[in-house]
């Protein structure tokens, strides 16, 4: 069982990131669930979603012992630190979370300047894809190839063809 | 002596009170459906109130009895399920202009292709003669025994309410005498022809007497509608696109 939390501001593509992640899990043959925050929270406030992967059937879609937290801003990091397992991996946007911001001692922290990289790639809305690339590099939930396939499939279904999306993913995986 | 024949789509006289306008209106509708050749695919939607007595062995048409105030959305649903059928809602003034006001306004706003026939007798009939939005100022009813207080309760005129929306046809007639009844029948016919031609939303209001609840003789009540009600509810075709 893998529990993953994506969190950030509304409009940062948090829910989409989780959906792509869930797509990757499904295509790996795993059982997956994706569960969003919704409603008024979507209007510019905080957004988060929960993703679960398991080889067995997943009973509860709600998270309890989180393996991976992907925090795109400081409030999200503060809000969701407590539910992390010891040894969990936390991805933070180093462009917004100060280096000295307190993070639990018993977790691994991966700092990625996602927005900076996305801007450099000419795809400012691709920060979340940079983060997915970094997740592929620093965890074993999926490989870069697997998440690349999921990203291609996800955007193809939406009728979006932007090669810069894959650039973001690749740059993220090199972090 | 002239031969008296029932219209093809009328099986029997109904249980309406003496002098009631509903029976006349149902007969006019039945004649129109037959004359337009659409009776075979007509679906009537009746309010649970007085109009629904046409479903007591009177009207030879498939029919649905809708909750009070809801014949218009119910007719809309039947039309949506069977777009080739000819669907109409037959309801009273309390149903159309009070409890079902939102449904009326939005159906007119969408311009849904259907026919609505409202019988306006200025009073709630089935529940025993209470004040309606169409009750005239000063008119005595069971819930305005001293006469409708014009300062507190206004008079709702459907023309003010929906003529600027997306109506194809909006008219008001009466059934006072042969000539006015024939005019009203022509209005009803146009309202159905529009639906056949897919032209949109048509509503005909028919001013009618309710002698029982207004405590008048049928003749007195007929005169009241003709002389008093028409002061507030002018007759004519208000929208005809």
């Amino acid at each position: 069982m893998i529990e993953i939390r994506f969190a950030g501001f509304g409009g940062q593509g948090i829910l989409t990131t989780g959906m792509i992640c869930a797509t990757a899990g499904m295509d790996l043959g795993k059982n997956v669930t994706w569960y969003p925050s919704y409603g008024s929270q979507m209007r510019g406030g905080t957004a988060n979603c929960s993703v679960k992967f398991d080889d067995k059937a997943i009973a509860s879609p709600f998270l309890k012992n989180v393996d991976i937290l992907c925090a795109m801003n400081t409030p999200s990091l503060d809000m969701f630190q407590a539910e992390l397992k010891p040894g969990a991996v936390v991805f933070v946007d180093s462009g917004v979370v100060p280096e000295d911001h307190p993070i639990r001692e018993d977790v691994k922290v991966v700092r990625v300047p996602v927005n900076e990289i996305a801007h450099k790639a000419g795809n400012p809305r691709g920060a979340n894809l940079v983060m997915l690339g970094a997740m592929a590099a620093h965890t074993d939930i999926f490989t870069v190839e697997e998440i690349t396939k999921a990203v291609e499939k996800f955007f193809k279904k939406k009728g979006i063809d932007n090669p810069k999306n894959l650039d973001c993913l690749k740059l993220g995986s090199e972090c | 002596m002239a031969e008296v024949r029932l219209p093809k789509r009328i099986m029997n006289s109904g249980g309406w009170c003496q002098g009631c306008g509903h029976g006349v209106v149902v007969r006019l509708i039945a004649e129109v459906l037959d004359e337009l050749g659409v009776a075979d695919k007509a679906i009537a939607v009746e309010d649970v109130a007085c109009g629904s007595m046409s479903m007591s062995g009177v009207l030879k048409c498939d029919a649905i009895m809708a909750a009070h105030g809801r014949p218009i959305p119910v007719a809309n649903g039947a039309k949506g399920a069977r777009p080739d059928s000819i669907v109409y809602a037959h309801l009273g003034d309390g149903s159309a202009y009070s409890i079902g006001c939102a449904e009326l306004v939005h159906t007119a706003l969408r311009g849904d292709n259907m026919t609505v026939i409202v019988v306006n007798n200025t009073v709630y009939g089935m529940t025993g003669g209470q004040m309606a939005p169409t009750t005239l100022p000063g008119e005595k009813t069971a819930s305005s025994p001293k006469g409708k207080d014009a300062d507190r309760y206004g008079v709702l005129n459907v023309v003010d309410l929906i003529s600027d929306l997306n109506c194809t046809y909006l008219a008001r007639g009466e059934i006072y005498d042969v000539a006015s009844t024939a005019k009203t029948k022509a209005m009803i016919k146009k309202a159905f022809q529009n639906q056949i031609d897919n032209k949109g939303f048509s509503l005909v209001e028919v001013l009618a007497p309710c002698p029982t609840n207004l405590h008048m003789t049928p003749v007195q009540c007929k005169e009241f509608v003709h002389t008093e009600a028409t002061k507030y509810f002018t007759l004519g075709e208000f929208v005809d696109k």
């Binding site: 669930t33 569960y35 | 075979d40 939607v45 029919a63 809708a66 649903g77 939005h106």
Partner: protein, 358 residues
């Protein structure tokens, strides 16, 4: 076998309704069911059906009433406060023996409550809720796949019993995404039933779709002819549904000391809780009602070792407890491990269940 797709519960349900042959939908926005309305706003036209965003829930359900009377597989959707408004039409559907499907994607609270995941409507769903002598079949899915399967089942049951059928979904099921296998398209013929209004020929008897109470004195009325009178017909109808349609899932019930009773989203947490408790040596079990009405009373016979029962629900008053007490004839303590604004935590559920044994 069709390829699995990742879909939100609400959207999968909407698509499944179309695949069950429904071509009529009228709805109104309310969180957390709005994705159904949004999905159908474009998708219904693609399959040649009728879609309307109604001006209110009242209009929505009454349009469904008209469409059902005309023979369509019609449905509407809402959530708690909007479902309350639909009760008028649901009572009329029941009183007219009309098949229709109504979906309640539940949230929390009375009044406005809030939009969060919740199971606030058990009472209004299972007691009838509108006026008069009626109840409706209520199906409670707990996954996106079940959402898909149950909407098909709901239309079938509605037609089998000529009765409205409710799906008690909740925000957890509606908002969640899971891989789902969609069934093939089925056709529905609006002329499947002769009672459906369509227009009558001059030499035919007209079809009247009306309040059966008006016909209960008519010896020639088909129901009265067959059953003698309407009360007998109605009593038998409900008894038959109650006997034949109880559905549930049992999980580790036989040797359980305490049996959890949970449906929908909370049943998934409860299932995890059973595993957690058993790993700690505490024998928990789970009865998951799949029909909330008829309540699966038969399931409780399996609980041979049970000393207590405990409902797990996302509401404040433990609404399902009444039915558990009735099903167990008041012989056992019935606890409530509830929460609102969040699903109950497995550790809290275990603590509540253990306390029942003291």
């Amino acid at each position: 076998m069709a390829e699995k797709v990742l879909m939100k519960g609400n959207e999968a349900l909407a698509e499944a309704a179309l695949r069950a042959g429904s071509r009529f939908y009228s709805g109104y926005p309310i969180t957390p069911q709005t994705e159904i309305l949004e999905y159908l706003s474009t998708r219904m036209a693609e399959v040649g059906g009728f879609f309307v965003q109604a001006e209110s829930e009242l209009c929505g359900i009454n349009m469904v009433f008209g469409a059902a009377a005309a023979g369509a597989r019609a449905f509407t959707t809402s959530s708690g406060p909007g479902y309350s408004l639909k009760q008028e039409g649901i009572s009329y559907l029941a009183a007219n023996d009309l098949p229709a499907v109504i979906i309640d994607v539940m949230r929390i609270g009375s009044g406005l409550g809030d939009i969060f995941m919740g199971q606030g409507d058990y009472w209004q769903l299972t007691r009838g809720g509108g006026h008069g002598d009626y109840r409706t079949i209520v199906l409670a899915p707990n996954s996106v796949q079940e959402n898909v399967e149950m909407v098909q089942k709901a239309f079938d049951l509605a037609e089998q019993y000529l009765h409205p059928v409710i799906i008690a979904s909740d925000a957890g099921i509606g908002q969640m995404m899971e891989p789902v296998e969609l069934p093939d398209f089925k056709e529905h013929d609006v002329n499947k039933f002769d009672w459906a209004v369509r227009g009558c020929k001059e030499n035919e008897n007209p079809r009247y779709c009306q309040n059966i109470y008006y016909n209960m004195w008519d010896e020639e009325y088909p129901l009265v002819k067959e059953y003698g009178d309407y009360p007998t017909y109605l009593t038998k109808k409900y008894a038959t549904i109650e006997e034949n349609e109880q559905r549930w899932e049992s999980y580790q019930v036989e040797d359980a000391e305490v049996v959890l009773v949970a449906y929908g989203s909370s049943s998934r947490v409860a299932k995890d809780t059973v595993d957690t408790a058993r790993a700690q040596g505490f024998k928990l079990g789970l009865i998951r009602p799949i029909t909330l009405w008829p309540f699966p009373k038969k399931a409780f016979a399996e609980a041979k070792a049970a000393k207590a029962f405990c409902t797990v629900e996302v509401n404040i008053l433990g609404q399902m407890g009444d039915d558990v007490r009735l099903a167990t004839e008041g012989k056992f303590p019935v606890g409530f491990a509830g929460n609102f604004f969040a699903v109950p935590d497995p550790d809290d559920i275990i603590a509540t269940a253990k306390a029942l044994l003291k």
